[in-house]
């Protein structure tokens, strides 16, 4: 099934520059409806108001980390199937394993490039 490029995508990062970079890359890939949140708490609140087709989240944020957001999302009946990609500088094996066990769909270590982002989105949503 073709990816709906108009579906809402939520980018979660406390660094505005990173939000801007990911947003620009997503626009270049064809996504048209991109929103942002600055931490897990704000993201979770947004997710309860609107259904997102993809969440791209950083790990290290306060007051709620991306890891906490992932676990909250996976334990909420209405949100647990939301595709979730972690984009983070946390590159220890324990982080990757913890995220995988918590149900993340894919994991990108920073710094990354457009091809990597595209490849991981395609791996999660299908080719577009």
């Amino acid at each position: 099934m073709a990816v709906d490029m108009s579906m809402p995508v939520l980018v979660v990062d406390d660094y505005k520059t990173m939000v801007r970079i990911i947003t620009n890359l997503l626009k270049q890939l064809g996504f048209q409806n991109i929103e942002a949140a600055s931490d897990g708490k704000e993201a979770f609140a947004k997710m309860q108001e609107q259904k997102y087709g993809l969440v791209i989240s950083d790990w290290n944020m306060e007051p709620m980390t991306g890891y906490e957001l992932l676990r909250e999302v996976r334990s909420a009946d209405t949100l647990k199937t939301t595709p979730f990609i972690m984009v983070t500088a946390e590159s220890k094996t324990e982080n990757v394993i913890a995220a995988k066990k918590a149900g993340v769909n894919n994991y990108i270590v920073k710094p990354f490039n457009a091809a990597t982002l595209k490849g991981k989105i395609a791996a999660v949503l299908g080719d577009f």
């Binding site: 970079i21 790990w59 980390t65 500088a89 590159s91 094996t93 894919n106 994991y107 920073k110």
Partner: protein, 225 residues
């Protein structure tokens, strides 16, 4: 007089008093025994004074040495000048990098939105934008110098604290984990690794290659090789 000798003398005087039934003794002998006891106690307290004096002298010397070592640390200079200075430098690094990033991002976004109907005008716009992006990269020289200043400050503090610690024979005390440290540990907040990602993207991709909900053990094992 040695402490043991003093103690023996006092003990001897007390035993002599105990053995001689003072009620049946003439007053002269009781007085004599009292003198003996008084002498013994005099020796005892005399030695006690010397010991305490020695201890106090040692403590005073130690405090004096510690005060000299603390003075060598220049704590006021570190608190009032070096640390605020380093903090200002780091603030400037953050500000400079943000400004440069803002400039480069804005130019890039402008370029992406350019219409290329007129190739000459398009090339001129691209050249101008590229020049501004190159200029913005000059932040690296300034931030490099600022970071070097901070590193120098940290080395200065490390050196002084190490000297102080060695001079006073300080060893690290065990301490309770703070709430912030506990959260960092529980949330696996390790921060960026030195010299690039600790786990390479290819290794991570191998873990996500299958549809299994659990990490593939072979891929995980490969990460630990």
């Amino acid at each position: 007089m040695a402490t043991i000798e003093v103690a023996k003398k006092v003990k001897g005087a007390i035993e002599t008093l105990r053995e001689s039934n003072v009620r049946d003794r003439p007053l002269v002998e009781v007085l004599e025994l009292s003198h003996q006891l008084a002498d013994a106690m005099k020796f005892f307290f005399g030695s006690l004074d010397q010991t305490i004096q020695g201890e106090f002298r040692y403590i005073a010397d130690f405090i004096s040495k510690a005060r000299d070592e603390i003075a060598e640390l220049c704590p006021n200079e570190i608190r009032q000048e070096r640390i605020p200075g380093a903090s200002l430098e780091l603030d400037a690094v953050v500000r400079d990098t943000e400004q440069a990033t803002e400039t480069i991002m804005t130019e890039a976004e402008t370029l992406m939105g350019l219409e290329c109907d007129d190739p000459v005008a398009y090339k001129a716009a691209v050249d101008d934008a590229m020049m501004r992006m190159i200029e913005a990269c000059s932040f690296q020289d300034l931030t490099g110098q600022r970071v070097n200043k901070v590193v120098t400050t940290l080395r200065h503090i490390e050196e002084r604290v190490s000297q102080f610690s060695a001079a006073l024979g300080v060893t690290d005390a065990k301490r309770e984990e703070t709430e912030a440290e506990k959260r960092q540990r529980e949330q696996l907040l390790n921060g960026p690794a030195m010299d690039g990602p600790e786990t390479k993207q290819d290794d991570i991709d191998a873990m996500f290659a299958g549809d299994s909900a659990d990490a593939d053990q072979d891929a995980i094992d490969a990460l630990f090789d």
